[in-house]
Symmetry: C2
């Protein structure tokens, strides 16, 4: 992974806040700008970037490792290529083993950005990844809900203890205008990267990368990107 200039892991305190959607769309919009981008779905709890981007019938190619296929201008790799549509979940140490194997066998080549879709919360997989991948920076996605932000607080505290760099926080699915979450973010001494209004059109765009790029959601994320680079 030494040839990757920026590794950004998209994380969240809990599920259902739009983490995978942010990861997928962020990768697309970075590629749209001309960067060489990889998208790596490591959310073994519910891998969904392949559904979001409508990816099927492509596979990584074996060549002294796994070469990710090019999809929608991205190099794409997902844990589903490993687990398939198996119903029985990976247990305990298997999760770590698969994660470590995927990290070591995937041949990304030279990248400007690698976007990683992380499992929600702080589990073994998250801790393994932080231990194994150097120079990873974390972007945290949350909703305005108090319950979601409580989990963000825990996640941010842990990341700081581990001395992991946090890019900042994106507030997703905003419905009622207020600055409450922004203020709480600043109190945690974290960057507030912006808010994304709830976008009812998103559901229709699931499975269609082009449609996704036309949503208000994507438009807002393009603004977030300018803050990440800075």
């Amino acid at each position: 992974m030494k040839r990757i200039a920026n590794i950004i892991a998209i994380s969240s305190g809990k599920g259902g806040v739009g983490k995978s959607l942010v990861a997928s769309t962020l990768a697309l919009t970075l590629a749209e700008k001309g960067y060489t981008v990889g998208l790596f779905d490591l959310d073994f709890t519910s891998p969904s970037t392949h559904l979001i981007l409508g990816i099927k019938d492509v596979q990584p190619r074996e060549d002294n490792g796994l070469v990710p296929p090019n999809v929608h201008g991205l190099k794409y790799m997902s844990i589903v290529y490993y687990t398939g549509e198996h119903v029985l979940p990976l247990r305990g140490a298997d999760v770590s083993n698969v994660l470590i194997e995927l990290l070591s066998v995937t041949k990304w080549g030279k990248l400007d950005f690698l976007i990683i879709d992380m499992p929600p919360g702080i589990g073994d997989a998250t801790l393994d990844l932080l231990r194994l991948v150097k120079n990873v920076r974390i972007l945290i996605v949350t909703t305005p809900s108090r319950l979601a932000f409580e989990t963000v607080r825990k996640l941010a505290t842990l990341l700081k203890e581990l001395k992991i760099q946090i890019v900042g926080i994106v507030e997703n699915m905003k419905m009622i205008p207020n600055e409450s979450l922004k203020q709480q973010t600043l109190k945690l001494h974290l960057a507030f990267l912006g808010e994304i209004p709830y976008d009812p059109k998103i559901e229709e765009a699931i499975g269609n990368a082009n449609k996704l790029l036309e949503t208000a959601f994507a438009k807002k994320l393009r603004q977030v990107i300018t803050r990440i680079k800075a």
Copy 2:
């Protein structure tokens, strides 16, 4: 747990669908009807029923085991009593060990209903619980989102393979009227227990059990209950 007439575990394919809110409110509404009810928060990924019900300054009592405190007419027990506000998460086997210990030391006494708030998805904790607790029935919460339902499909398939009884599916945070999810539920040969419209008032009711019982959300859940009993 032999003295518990009904054990209902509230589960979901992914996080952020309102599982903990359904678990908490369901327990409250059953108690309101005069049943003896326990609420057991085993969602170690982000325990939140204590935040939802505004529970603080009460602790289980030690008496040859742990006797859950009475809160809002419920017997209440949560994994936070074990993990506290520790930032560092439990790893691998520790999760199983804590879960098994909590299951064995908690003295519920005689109950009509025990409502368990499960971790989202299918992880080690879910599998352990299904193995250890006999006669548990699963109520699955989802949102109308296609991504959420994909995870429900997996969860339901696994539960059927394990011969675990599924009470049915509740569709939460409904915004656009349609029968799409109901039809898909019936195709899986599962009971559709009802839909709950998105309720913007919920956020204000977080932390206040009485307010929670007055929401449109609680009203809808009372209808769901009648279907569970049948």
